[in-house]
């Protein structure tokens, strides 16, 4: 929260996202500890090769963070910290949105890949955790996609000055989803 204290005018939206990030982090920590305990509980852990498309998806997600950064750079700001949209910003944001959806589509392909190998949710603790982790991340990212869509709509409709809360919040959350995915990828590639 120290970061917040530095930020002058307090933006509840940004604070809220930080708190949300804390909650999501906590719950994924819980899932991780569950994984560790479960893996140690019985010798039935089955190792399998992660669907290669995951690495492509990772690049897609990283790219989406990049485009989001560009979107923020190309937005106009006034001293009061308010923002106004620009055509480039809209384009970059649209790109971010598209890449986000592409990522989720890629995850679906990864699941079908596993299913075709006969690895389903209940097949083995390892596959169970794989679906749980990737599925929950996809759901959380979907939230980010919705937020980005809402933001895009606002920027396109109102070219005037608006406050930056929604933009800051969305990009904060989006980058966090990015980091969370990197963490999950490392975790999965370590235990699978």
């Amino acid at each position: 929260m120290a970061i917040l204290k530095l930020a002058q005018p307090p933006s509840p939206a940004r604070t809220g996202v930080w708190i949300g990030i804390a909650a999501v982090t906590m719950s994924f920590a819980a899932y991780t500890s569950a994984l560790v305990v479960r893996q140690a509980a019985a010798p039935d852990w089955q190792h399998f090769r992660l669907p290669p498309i995951l690495y492509l998806n990772t690049l897609v997600l990283l790219a989406s963070s990049g485009t989001l950064v560009r979107a923020r750079q190309s937005i106009l700001r006034d001293p009061a910290g308010r923002i106004a949209s620009t055509p480039q910003a809209v384009t970059w944001l649209a790109a971010t949105l598209g890449l986000g959806i592409l990522f989720i589509a890629g995850q679906v392909i990864a699941w079908r890949d596993l299913a075709s190998q006969g690895l389903f949710l209940s097949t083995n603790p390892s596959s169970s955790f794989f679906y749980v982790f990737t599925g929950l991340h996809a759901i959380h990212l979907l939230g980010g996609v919705l937020a980005a869509g809402y933001l895009l709509g606002r920027l396109r409709r109102s070219p005037g000055w608006t406050n930056s809360g929604a933009l800051e919040a969305t990009s904060l959350y989006w980058h966090f989803m990015d980091l969370l995915w990197l963490y999950l990828l490392i975790l999965l590639s370590l235990v699978f």
């Binding site: 819980a30 569950a34 479960r38």
Partner: protein, 599 residues
């Protein structure tokens, strides 16, 4: 400290102002309202519905324990399957017990003191126009409401509600119908309900934290924050962490039940002659996840009580709280320690005996801040000028029952004694005193104190005092004997006591039953008071108690936008400046101009 006066400039804030200024029609005003005051009341009404249900369930259980062979009039109509001839079946008893625990812990002790009073009072106390995210706030309530409906729905499925207790230990809760009636659909509904509840409370705590951090009015520094707001803030942080762990636990349990995974179910289980198609899961994993939430949950239920008491006691003692900084420090210490003690619920669970001793140390240490807080309250009473309003009486009662319940914790915190008392009524007595009765006393104190602010009418004080006296005597008659039962080895969660060595305790059970019905009847006084005073009570002035915090500087009930377009006045005084020469008498409002020097 940066200037925190900035009114919310985010869309949610604007929508809040819109909603607050121009509530369109009954639906937006009363049902799907974005106004924290309405949402707070909705939470309290939900808690009321839950507490009435939970209490009736406990009457049925107590009646069955006290008079096992007597048919309960009307029960056969309610449960023709499970109570043929009005005689309760064991599974009905256990499902009543499960629903009682779940309703009380989640839908009463979490919603009422935290989500209910917190929602109504916190923004007023910090001088905010509304919560930071009114839409999330509304969602928080409605998700919780749906969770409540899903839980109640378990009463109406063929095999009835689950019977695995509010802790839903796996694999009893995980393997489905083979574990017994109610473990099929009923248990599934339970898991879904609790998962939804987690979502609702996460949205709620997110709001509490953001609001307290960002929406405090000018001059409302943390050192001037009212103690109740402190407690709600700390509770929100705890809830955020606790429910983000319970939610995953519920998701995994649900998958074990419906998707055939094996997170909590080990291999080779044979239930009802059927080899269960699972392998490798760990029942202890559920216990760890659940109690990592479960123990903090105890403090989520009681900390708001701490805050409410520390807020109300000075008002009626007409003197400041003793050691305010120490008090807040203790709250934080308790909140922190509560995450290091969950293992004390698992001393006998077969986890490493060494870790049992490790868990028992923080469990005992957490009694130090708790003791300090209690002493602070008693020290606040010293040299006071006590005004015995009903709210004040419930504060004093809170201190008494909290001491009683806290001290029996000394026994259970020690593995070597827990090994004798673990599964007995001693535990039931302990947690009912410390988190049930104490938290309820906090709720009652808050209700008698803030009702005027909520509905613009006073609760009847004569009825209130009668209610208090009967309740205080009643709870001691119910829960103190449970410690004696426990010492005699009387096992809890039994629907009947067939074992010879327990026969000696049957008269005591009968006494408890009578006391419980008596105390339950006493609560009808409270319910009548609530309903009658809501419309017929004497009109309440803005500040009937001569209190200092901001909520008392606005009309009762407050206008939709709380402090009007101008926003809340700047704050230049502490939350409990009583016993000093002030304009209105022996107190200085927080919002009063800074001149008068505190005595």
């Amino acid at each position: 400290m940066p200037d925190m006066s900035a009114a919310p400039a985010v869309p949610s804030g604007e929508s809040a102002r819109r909603a607050a200024h121009a509530p369109r029609g009954f639906l937006r005003k009363q049902v799907f309202s974005l106004d924290h005051k309405v949402i707070g009341k909705q939470y309290l009404d939900l808690a009321l519905a839950a507490v009435v249900t939970g209490m009736v369930l406990s009457w049925l259980m107590r009646f069955h324990l006290g008079f096992p062979d007597t048919a309960i009039p009307g029960l056969e109509k309610l449960a023709p399957n499970a109570a043929a001839g009005g005689i309760m079946t064991p599974e009905l008893y256990l499902s009543l017990m499960t629903m009682h625990g779940t309703l009380m812990v989640f839908f009463v002790l979490t919603t009422a003191p935290f989500a209910g009073f917190g929602n109504f009072v916190l923004p007023l106390q910090i001088g905010a126009e509304d919560m930071a995210f009114p839409r999330f706030n509304m969602m928080s309530f409605w998700v919780t409401f749906v969770a409540f409906l899903v839980l109640i729905a378990a009463f109406f499925v063929p095999q009835g509600p689950p019977l695995s207790g509010w802790t839903a230990y796996a694999p009893l809760s995980a393997i489905g119908k083979d574990a017994g009636p109610g473990q099929g659909t009923g248990q599934t509904l339970w898991v879904i309900s609790i998962a939804l509840f987690c979502v609702g409370q996460l949205l709620g705590s997110l709001n509490f934290i953001a609001t307290t951090l960002d929406l405090r009015t000018r001059g409302m520094t943390f050192s001037r924050l009212p103690f109740s707001t402190w407690a709600w803030f700390i509770t929100a942080v705890m809830a955020l962490i606790a429910f983000s762990v319970l939610l995953p636990a519920c998701v995994l349990l649900l998958l074990d039940r419906v998707a055939g995974t094996s997170f909590f179910i080990p291999a080779g289980l044979v239930a009802s002659d059927r080899l269960q198609p699972h392998a490798g899961g760990s029942p202890l994993l559920w216990q760890h996840l659940f109690w990592f939430f479960g123990h903090p949950e105890v403090y989520i239920a009681i900390l708001p009580g701490f805050g409410i008491i520390s807020q109300i006691l000075p008002v009626f003692a007409r003197k400041p709280l003793l050691g305010p900084r120490v008090f807040v420090a203790c709250l934080i210490a308790i909140a922190f320690l509560s995450y290091t003690v969950w293992g004390h619920h698992m001393f006998l669970s077969g986890m490493n005996p060494v870790s049992a001793t490790l868990f028992s140390v923080p469990t005992l240490i957490i009694t130090i801040p708790a003791t300090i807080v209690t002493l602070l309250w008693i020290g606040t009473v010293y040299g006071a000028r006590l005004r015995f309003t009903t709210a004040a009486l419930f504060c004093l009662g809170f201190i008494s029952v909290f001491v009683t319940g806290g001290i029996s914790g000394f026994f259970l915190a020690q593995p070597s004694i827990d090994t004798y008392l673990h599964g007995t009524y001693f535990v039931v007595g302990h947690f009912h005193f410390v988190m049930g009765v104490a938290a309820m006393f906090g709720i009652f104190a808050g209700a008698y104190f803030w009702f005027p602010k909520m509905y613009g009418r006073m609760l009847d004080e004569r009825l209130g005092k009668l209610h208090f006296v009967l309740t205080l005597i009643g709870v001691y008659c119910i829960f103190m004997p449970m410690h004696w039962l426990g010492l005699a080895g009387n096992v809890r969660r039994y629907s009947a006591f067939t074992d010879e060595y327990m026969q000696g305790s049957l008269p005591l059970h009968r006494f408890i039953t009578i006391a419980a019905l008596f105390t339950g009847a006493a609560q009808l006084i409270f319910f009548f008071n609530l309903i009658w005073s809501r419309w017929r009570g004497s009109p309440a002035p803005a500040n009937p108690w001569q209190a200092t915090t901001l909520e008392w500087s606005v009309s009762s009930p407050p206008p939709p936008d709380n402090f009007g377009r101008a926003g809340a006045p700047p704050v230049s005084h502490g939350p409990d400046e009583y016993g000093v020469a002030g304009p209105g008498g022996d107190y200085v409002m927080q919002a009063a101009p800074p001149q008068p020097a505190t005595a």
